[in-house]
């Protein structure tokens, strides 16, 4: 299973960035390889408009199964999201990455 997180930093202890479109980083955790990798999103957060669709586009390219985030996508971002099979989990806004993953696994946060 491959998880994507919107994050304010690059490690397990970083916080979830509640904003999808203007998230600082995208983290990918592949549980088969037990590997956490970070992708900076700073180029996209600098865009005046249309950050949502671009970030989602980038996430889709990273090909995760699940996206764990805070606020959820806006209208345009949701439209792009719907072209993929990725499942979106919201409500992790105040958590650290590791807490968010635990919360998801124990069904504390859902779609």
């Amino acid at each position: 299973m491959k998880y994507a997180f919107t994050a304010k930093g690059e490690s397990w202890d970083s916080e979830i960035d509640p904003r999808l479109g203007r998230t600082e980083f995208i983290l990918i955790y592949d549980d088969k390889k037990n590997e956490l990798s970070a992708y900076s999103n700073s180029e996209i957060t600098q865009q005046a408009h249309g950050a949502g669709p671009l970030t989602v586009q980038k996430i889709i390219d990273l090909n995760p199964d699940i996206l764990i985030t805070g606020n959820g996508p806006g209208k345009n971002a949701a439209e792009v999201m719907s072209t993929s099979e990725i499942k979106i989990i919201t409500g992790a806004g105040d958590m650290k990455i590791k807490e968010a993953l635990e919360a998801y696994k124990s069904d504390k946060i859902t779609g």
């Binding site: 408009h49 249309g50 950050a51 669709p53 671009l54 072209t83 993929s84």
Partner: protein, 287 residues
């Protein structure tokens, strides 16, 4: 003659002045009042008459035909992130599109033809001798400028120079205001004699100077605050065209959607003063 009525921020009495001035002038001349505050068009609330015309206003945005080589050049071209390639699809976000036509005209497969998209409604109303035109931005649309510019085109195509045209401009100092006052012969800045009023006036003056516009100031709710606005205008040699006194009755009439000059003589006096300084009055000064 085109006159734009603007202000650094909302709520200073711009609409009150625009509707009063145009209604009063229309008693003797041909006047068109145009509400260009398309995000919050309020002038209509003060105009009573019959709608004579109504039309949608559209902008041209690209639409994907679904049949292309997926080269992705369109995404790279668009400076506003209005078109992106996701998987095997090209997606468009029309509210982000500025209608520059670049993606459409440069697409090697002609897969992005331009199609009209409705961004607002234009209505025309006949109120006695006054012609009133307004445009309203659709909720959810984010750009006022294309609607403003097309409304001005409509005016230019329908009314020649024999008309006095009065634009009720949007508030602020950003693109919509500039679009609205761009081709005006004269701009009236409405302000209040308060610290907020002065601060916002200075910003508006900066815009007008940058645009090299002829402009003057109308002080609304005169007597309410202090003299700083008048002192500032004096120092900067900006003409103060009229001073409308702070009168609760004006606020009450405004609240009810009534025109003010027919009820309050002092207000009418200031209107006449303004008309004279703009050389708009046809009536010879009796004094």
């Amino acid at each position: 003659m085109k006159i734009a009525i603007a202000s650094g921020k909302g709520g200073t009495g711009k609409t009150t002045l625009a509707t009063s001035l145009s209604s009063h002038l229309s008693e003797t001349q041909d006047v068109v009042l145009v509400d260009l505050d398309v995000e919050e068009p309020n002038s209509r609330l003060f105009i009573r008459g019959d709608q004579t015309h109504s039309q949608s206003i559209c902008k041209q945005v690209p639409e994907w035909t679904g049949d292309c080589s997926l080269c992705g050049q369109c995404q790279e071209i668009c400076n506003f992130n209005a078109v992106i390639k996701v998987g095997t699809q090209i997606m468009l976000f029309p509210e982000l599109c500025h209608s520059c036509r670049a993606c459409s005209e440069l697409c090697p497969e002609s897969a992005l033809p331009l199609k009209p998209r409705k961004i607002g409604m234009l209505n025309q109303i006949q109120a006695g001798n006054l012609i009133f035109v307004e445009s309203r931005l659709e909720i959810g649309e984010q750009q006022a400028v294309p609607l403003i510019s097309q409304t001005k085109d409509y005016i230019d195509n329908h009314f020649d120079e024999s008309y006095i045209i009065i634009y009720d401009s949007p508030p602020g100092t950003s693109c919509p205001v500039i679009e609205a006052s761009k081709d005006a012969d004269f701009v009236i800045l409405v302000t209040e004699p308060t610290p907020f009023g002065l601060y916002d006036l200075k910003l508006a003056v900066e815009v007008m100077r940058k645009m090299k516009k002829d402009f003057g100031v109308v002080v609304n709710r005169d007597g309410l605050g202090n003299n700083d606005v008048l002192d500032y205008c004096d120092m900067e040699t900006i003409p103060v065209l009229a001073r409308i006194s702070n009168d609760r009755r004006i606020a009450e009439l405004y609240a009810a959607g009534e025109l003010i000059f027919s009820t309050i003589p002092e207000f009418k006096e200031q209107l006449l003063l303004l008309e004279r300084s703009l050389e708009l009055s046809t009536v010879v000064d009796p004094v």
